[in-house]
Amino acid sequence: MNYLPYAVAAWLFLVGLYGVTSSRNLIHLIMCVGVIQSSSYVLLLAIGYRVGGVAPVFVDIPANSRAVDPVVQALMLTDIVVEVAVTALLLGLAVQVHKRHGTLNPDRLTKISG
């Protein structure tokens, strides 16, 4: 078992969280959310990977040949679709924030507190 992909996933996760926490720009912040998301892709692919496995399309290969796990790929694809919608929504909000507040810096958004 190769631990590198899991280490990469953990690193992306942490670095994304750090980015969101310390960000001074909403666009940058939303991209950092995307980095956290990429961590889950790396994790899922690492889980489904088989050494020497082929693509799981069993039309012209023997049914018992070694293939990578198609389930995690399906999960990832679903996740991408959902996240595209959420990221688009977040970016739309960022545009509106810039229109109404004249800034993209989350430090300057002070309409709500307490």
């Binding site: 969280l17 939303i30 956290i36 959902v82 109404r100």
Partner: protein
């Protein structure tokens, strides 16, 4: 096909309404939305009745179990799941009716979004597949973000929605990471199959990490301390009918997921650690209840005040779920039902105030609503209802949770209930006294940050339309009277016993065998004292705050140490995510301690 209808029907009509938004009138679109919601409500009730003896298992495309391996995706419907979906439909109906005068100028997207939200909530409650649950979680979140930020012209609204969206999206990745790890271990996504596969192994690091990720992700949705920051911001800015859904059912769904995933998947492997987990989750629930109560009392924006009250109450519901016993879960379910209706009515009353007077600030509205006896009646009935006075809906939940806590050795929990209920109700009564009677002093100077909220309807309105008043009234009255439903407690305990029987759940999904579960008897006499104490305490605190200058000085001296807590709610999304990370690290450490 029937089990799918509560999800498919609203989703189809949501798509149709969104596509035809330019063609059909707003009235017609509302009519269609109400029709779809009513139909799915009827089907939910049918499923609730049908699942009373054993879980209903539905396999999509008839891809069933083969050799203990789930080939397809299943809906596994039990009375709690069906009941929660039905409750979501009831609140959606209230929101739809209430909004008919609301968005005079807005398009039909609002109805489409509400239907998509309902579809996601129904699917979330009915599904038996962990990844499927995650997808509905995401769909629910996306619809919720859009609904929350519906008033994009309002600067505060954007900030609140952004905080909500970023924290909940990160929470979704927590869940997904946890699911990925569990899949790596078990090769399954069906919750029952995962549970069976896990039970043959032991509790190692991977199970621990997966548990922490999945549970923390759903705790964010439930707004448990320290993951709760987004909730107050989202509620303060969302349109009032949307707040009804957020407070009434969305937070409860997080707890439902926690209970479902624990009992279906983790119970077989973690059962030996149950006492430790009980202490852990009860403590988190108590911390949430107290934080919510303190913060609630410090608010002057009525919607934000109600939001913190929701945090406090969801903490109490969490303690019921965390007792991991049938009576505790049954009490939590009844409490959640009654609280959702009462709180929904209160949010709608706040919405009426916003409609009539263009503000929800306690001090701005000082004495303005003197000639509103009907709204005042709804508001005060709701505020008093929050105390859980004897025979009200909340009291029925209290009784069961207290009885369960007593037998688990947490007898002191009843004092937490009394305190949290009393303080949150006192805050609501105080606000009501100022707004509807003009009692007490008023702060004209602006030392507290004022929430400028744009009105949801245009122009000044001289009267309250029936479509606004009736849903508010029905919800509050329903919440107060739900305790009188005959055999409610016994039915809830039977449903909870069925819910918490991991072996029966696994057998019904994996072996198509329906095991009978025997429910314990419900405790007999309702308790009077706790409810009366909370009610009395709330009235005394509110009156002292309004009428006694010395009492106010004393209370502000007492609250002073809590200013720090107040300042932590900074409205800054980075801070919230930092707390989220910190909270998850703490939770992981506590779990390590629990499992070792």
């Amino acid at each position: 096909m029937l089990p799918v209808a509560p999800v498919a029907l609203p989703l189809l009509f949501a798509a149709a309404l969104a596509a035809l938004t330019k063609i059909i009138s707003q009235r017609f679109s509302q009519l269609i939305a109400v029709g779809a919601t009513l139909t799915s409500l009827a089907i939910d009730i049918y499923l609730l009745k049908g699942s009373a003896t054993h879980d209903i298992v539905y396999w999509f495309g008839n891809w069933r179990i083969r050799d203990g391996v789930a080939l397809g995706i299943s809906f596994t419907i039990d009375p709690f799941g069906a009941g929660l979906a039905g409750f979501a439909a009831v609140l959606t109906l209230a929101a739809l009716l209430f909004s008919s005068e609301f968005f005079d100028t807005a398009g039909n997207h609002f109805h489409a979004l509400l239907l998509a939200f309902l579809a996601a909530m129904s699917g979330f409650s009915l599904t038996g597949d962990m990844f499927n649950m995650f997808v509905f979680f995401e769909l629910m979140s996306a619809a919720a973000f859009a609904l929350c930020g519906y008033k994009t012209a309002d600067p505060g609204s954007l900030q609140g929605t952004l905080n909500f969206a970023v924290t909940n999206t990160i929470a979704a990745y927590f869940v997904l990471t946890g699911i990925g790890l569990l899949y790596a271990r078990t090769g399954a996504l069906n919750m029952a199959q995962m549970g069976r596969a896990l039970s043959s192994g032991r509790v190692d690091t991977l199970v621990l990490i997966a548990f922490v990720f999945v549970i923390c992700g759903y705790l964010v949705k439930t707004a448990i301390v320290p993951f709760h920051f987004w909730l107050a911001d989202a509620h303060a800015v969302a349109p009032s009918p949307v707040c009804v859904l957020f407070s009434g059912v969305m937070v409860d769904l997080g707890l439902f997921a926690l209970a479902r995933i624990y009992w279906a998947t983790f119970n077989p492997v973690l059962h030996a650690h149950l006492p430790g987990l009980t202490t852990l989750f009860v403590s988190i629930g108590v911390a949430t209840a107290l934080t919510g109560a303190f913060m609630c009392y410090l608010q002057r924006n009525v919607k934000r005040l109600l939001a913190f009250s929701t945090i406090s109450h969801v903490g109490l519901i969490m303690t019921g779920v965390a007792l991991f016993a049938p009576a505790g879960l049954a009490g939590a379910a009844i409490y959640a039902l009654a609280h959702g209706m009462v709180k929904g009515g209160l949010f709608l009353a706040a919405g009426i105030l916003l409609h009539r007077f263009q503000s929800v600030d306690e001090h701005d509205l000082y004495g303005k609503a003197r000639r509103e006896p009907a709204t005042a009646a709804v508001f005060f009935a709701g505020a008093v209802g929050l105390t859980g006075f004897p025979f009200s809906g909340l009291a029925a939940g209290h009784d069961l949770m207290s009885a369960s806590a007593k037998s688990a050795g947490f007898d002191w929990l009843r004092w937490i209930f009394i305190f949290a209920d009393g303080v949150t109700a006192a805050a609501a009564l105080r606000a009501g006294g100022r707004i509807f009677f003009g009692w007490g002093p008023v702060e004209r100077e602006e030392n507290a940050p004022k929430h400028e909220e744009k009105p949801e309807t245009e122009g000044r309105h001289q009267y309250t339309p029936a479509t606004m008043f009736i849903p508010a009234c029905v919800l509050v009255v329903g919440g107060l009277l739900v305790g009188f439903v005959p055999d409610l407690k016994q039915a809830a305990i039977a449903a909870a016993t069925q819910f918490e029987n991991s072996r029966a759940y696994a057998a019904s999904v994996l072996d198509s065998q329906y095991l009978r579960t025997v429910a314990p008897a419900a405790p007999e006499a309702p308790e009077m004292l706790p409810g009366l104490l909370a009610l009395l305490g709330a009235i005394v605190i509110a009156l002292v705050h309004l009428f006694s200058a010395r009492g106010r000085q004393l209370s502000s001296a007492l609250w002073k140490p809590l200013r720090l807590l107040h300042r932590l709610h900074s409205g800054h999304v980075g801070d919230y995510v930092a707390f989220l990370t910190f909270g998850m690290a703490c939770f992981a450490l506590l779990c390590v301690y629990c499992f070792s």
